[in-house]
Symmetry: D2
């Protein structure tokens, strides 16, 4: 068993030729694909239809390759689109797959991938303890599937989670239930936050299920390895765990760190160092061939400052705060890697400290 991770460019949200090319060239078997992440060029906010457009385009193409209907892919492949390529970020897809070949070598851990899905949530469970608990259980299941035995070997957990719509709120109210918020946009943050706390619980980063009131509010509680994203098209959580396991072969490795704020370059340098890559500055052309992918979360600090200096992300009524945050973190990390094809996504509730966030890097072992 070995993990496969590929980045392919996207000329627009419907351009899935890169993914199809991987399959048709035999690089990846269509049936081996576990998840496709996409960095699409929308605004990453409410009216970002590049995510749905890319997902629909991917489903049509992958179903054709697999010889099934698009809807048959539900629950089999996770499609996680993150809108927003501000600054210099480059639109691309990240394909995660698992191949049967690749025997593990003794005494050596390699990148391992596992997926799991929670049951569907009732609207009133979204952004609350139930979502935290179910997510934690699913993370543990995905770890088992991936053959990852210790929480410390988990370096990245990607989750796609549901949000509340007017219809879903109404359905809950009709049953006499109260939802966590009546603000659709706010429900995205609560769902992301509860999902991240589920990861934190599964990995021992929080000791117990936090009270509902802490979700979205107590920023001292967070996972250093969660990356969660809310979407309208599902009612359950879809989880992909990436970590290190002795049961996997291949040549890929992963590590992570927590950026304590948006300009925490040393955190990312630390990851490079632990992966055996140079840390003195930007990767050069030679060492960059060992670099495979970077995944990070970005969020404007609620304090309105970075190391004491005012930022204007929250005050800019022309550009959404998360767009500024992605541009900033994308710049910091592109400077280090020498590559703009980075999966930097926004909305980092309970995913790292206020204003910071996790950064994970996948590389080829040397």
């Amino acid at each position: 068993m070995r993990a496969i991770v590929h980045r392919v460019p996207m000329s627009d949200p419907s351009d899935v030729s890169g993914v199809v090319g991987l399959i048709e060239s035999g690089t990846v078997a269509a049936d081996d694909i576990l998840a496709i992440l996409g960095k699409t060029e929308g605004n990453g906010c409410v009216n970002d239809f590049t995510r749905g457009y890319a997902t629909a385009s991917l489903k049509t193409a992958l179903a054709e390759q697999r010889g099934c209907r698009p809807k048959d892919l539900d629950g089999k492949v996770a499609f996680v689109m993150s809108g927003g390529t501000e600054g210099g970020l480059s639109p691309h897809f990240l394909v995660f797959a698992r191949a049967a070949d690749g025997a593990p070598a003794a005494g050596q851990k390699r990148l391992a991938l596992g997926t799991a899905f929670t049951r569907a949530f009732a609207p009133e469970e979204i952004g609350r303890r139930a979502q935290v608990e179910e997510t934690a259980a699913a993370v543990r299941a995905a770890m088992t599937e991936a053959g990852i035995t210790e929480a410390g070997d988990v370096h990245y957990v990607q989750i796609k989670c549901p949000l509340l719509t007017r219809e879903r709120m109404a359905e809950a109210e009709a049953r006499g239930q109260r939802v966590a918020t009546e603000d659709t946009y706010h429900s995205m943050g609560l769902s992301r936050g509860a999902s991240a706390l589920g990861v934190a619980l599964a990995l021992g980063e929080v000791a117990a299920v936090p009270p509902d009131a802490a979700i979205g509010h107590d920023l001292t509680l967070f996972s250093s390895r969660a990356s969660t994203s809310a979407g309208i098209e599902l009612m359950r959580n879809e989880i992909m765990v990436a970590g290190m396991s002795a049961a996997w072969g291949g040549d890929l490795v992963i590590d992570h760190a927590v950026m304590k704020d948006g300009i925490d370059l040393p955190a990312a340098q630390g990851v490079l160092g632990r992966l055996g890559l140079p840390v003195g500055g930007q990767l050069d052309e030679m060492t960059r061939t060992r670099f495979v992918a970077l995944l990070a979360k970005a969020e404007p600090s609620r304090s309105g400052t970075i190391r004491g200096a005012r930022h204007i992300m929250w005050d800019d009524s022309d550009i959404n705060a998360t767009r500024h945050a992605r541009a900033l973190v994308g710049g910091v990390l592109a400077g280090l890697i020498g590559d703009t094809r980075l999966f930097v996504s926004g909305g980092a509730e309970h995913q790292g400290p206020d204003g910071g966030g996790p950064v994970a890097i996948i590389a080829r072992a040397h």
Copy 2:
């Protein structure tokens, strides 16, 4: 003689309390101020009134401190406001002054500042060879004033230059003259470009005055040390040269490099190294006390790519391309310095190669 450079925060474009504080605390004498640069939080494009608002607020305050009228400051102090604090950039003022104390030490060069002003241009001269030639002469005059004898000792030239308005075009046409462009916005780029080529000419970076047709078009011609900015409120070029001179004392030094693209972190690391600062990654708290200011230009590459990967700056009809570029370069450099109070400005025609730009750093000598 010694140079004084201070960064002070700005809570909004009218907040000049930081500048006033420098004067009232005795740190800088009001009469010693040569130039005030400002990074304001507007969009940096056509309808960015934060620049005018900040300039008006500064003039009122500085005139009060000097005991003169605001308009008496014209031609004495250069006010250069650059709009746009995208990503994590922090709004601030940069005050450049010159104090009579500070004897030079033998065999040692220190930061030297000089200013000069061209004659007023006729509208038809803007963006053309006349502007290039006059600017070159003024740069040489400012070098002389600064006691900088060699072009190689110039590390940064800030220029504020005029633009064309409908009225100015009409005035030229009434005299039977043709202006370089009938597009007001385009005239800003041509004026910035001609001014930058004037710097290149004065510093020997281009061999001769280029033909009018090359201005704004031949991107192989550029200065590695020019930073030019167009404004509506003047008809001449205002120039501040910053370089190294044996005639100056104090403890400030300056160096520069050219970023070959928006993510050229190694270029900025090279500057830090030449200034005797650590180059292995982000400045730590200790070494950051030696850091005084960073000035850089940012521009989206016309190719639409960065190292072969597509960027979306030109295609984004919601956020102006220069805003993306500032966010990117601001992130790259903030990651290195560990500080977001950086003077990153857009509009880099003939200021560095396509998609790149100069970066200058002022530090305390050790």
Copy 3:
């Protein structure tokens, strides 16, 4: 006594030449100016500095005309800038003044103006009953000053009101008080809403001071004649009442209606009709000479629909919802009047029904 109302164009937020021109031409005496409203070209949201820039420019110019210092104008002249000239709206100033000449004619009412100011509010009073009650008292005082004896003769009440800042919240908390909201942006809406309810109370549109919990929430409570705007530069409410009074002469008259939604053209047609202007469609060039000014409020309906059809104002993360609303209402009314110099402002909490708002028109009597 007669009222004077003039619209003058603004080429940018600092262009007060139109106002100065009114004074220097003798059209308006500097000392007679009661209020200057401005429609400036910023985004009308948090980082709209065109309002402050215009106010500062007006104060400097008017102080020079009056021979006083800018700060001496506080509490004497109300400066109310409303940002946002979306769609076709044209930036302009609206000058309201009162001249001693102009004897009233028997049996005839004319436009009457009055101003009043509340005491300064404590931070914890903003957006609460205290602000409602004090505002109601001040509206009554302004009516008395204007010689308006019946609530039915009041057609427009412009209020500038304070907002909460972090500092003001902290000051209240230090005294053990709780403010109405800890969200600065939200405090603007609460302050506008409480001020509008103060108008409603004074004019008998609500029967009693509503409970704190209704402020910002119970949209069935509203004034049909309030237009309120929050600003950072004051802690009290500044009020200008415009109505009809038998004690005033001159040739100006005013009337108003409530637009029940953003496309309620018939409401505005009704106002024209009551003022004796043609109602069959757009004013023609002849009748337009009788038109003096139009003031209206615009707000996106919380339902997300207009007459059952979905609007996208709330879902557009690139353009703030209030910008869409101003553009829409501006278009509807410009189509009717044949003029884009209309004072359409956003933020209509408790100022008309959800999605609608008051519209007042000032005309020359025939």
Copy 4:
């Protein structure tokens, strides 16, 4: 033969349930559909992917209904998506179909529809005389197909036309040809303009094919009935003509006018009057049942003014000028009709005078 025109709502760009509902309810036969126009909620500019997303969703759904593959619809059904629902405009689809029933009544004309397609253009023909001439021929063919015998009976011509991409430019250059512009965005305007001039030529609104230099420049040349839209997915022009013909039955009628500027309400009132609808203001609920659809073009005036008053559309670097223009015209017309489901599209080169544009209304005959 009779024409069928239906508006159906769109909850997001992929929501084709309204169109499918028309077919499944038997209101429209899938095979009878000639064209589907869509007003989608993107920015209407370069990176507006809502158009492609809606088109892809429509093709998939309609192919399923027709029992063919999506690509089999090319050249049979015109899909014209116009991005931008600024102000209060409501996203919707407009379905145009032709049913075999509906005998014409003697002496009475009814709405007639015809489609035609030009040959594919070479890149160097786009935005030039060849495109004008071919379009004119195709308009005449579509008139013939629709049984419209006189140019005066044509009231609306919708055209979808190609644009230049880097690849297309390169292909032309490889053959030694020069394209009309090297700016992709500019090519959209030239293609729209040349297509509109083709309509003008076919309808006798211009006397002869204008020289290439006039295309995009000589604003005195225009069609009062063209509405053209550029898209990347085709290389030919697709044309739908809507007019009045004695050969058609049914109960639909159409008329049009030219708005001379963005606030020309009387022009639209004139159309209502000629269609026998009330002209005194907004349609009331009763008469609105006779209203079927409105199609209009919006464009910011190049002069920067509307009836002498400055607009800020061109100067706003946060919101594209065409977005302001659509919001304005949408407001003016929604005020008249009392309905926000209007097809107001931008990019009106040679489609009406500078700052104005055609407006066509389809109604039920009484």
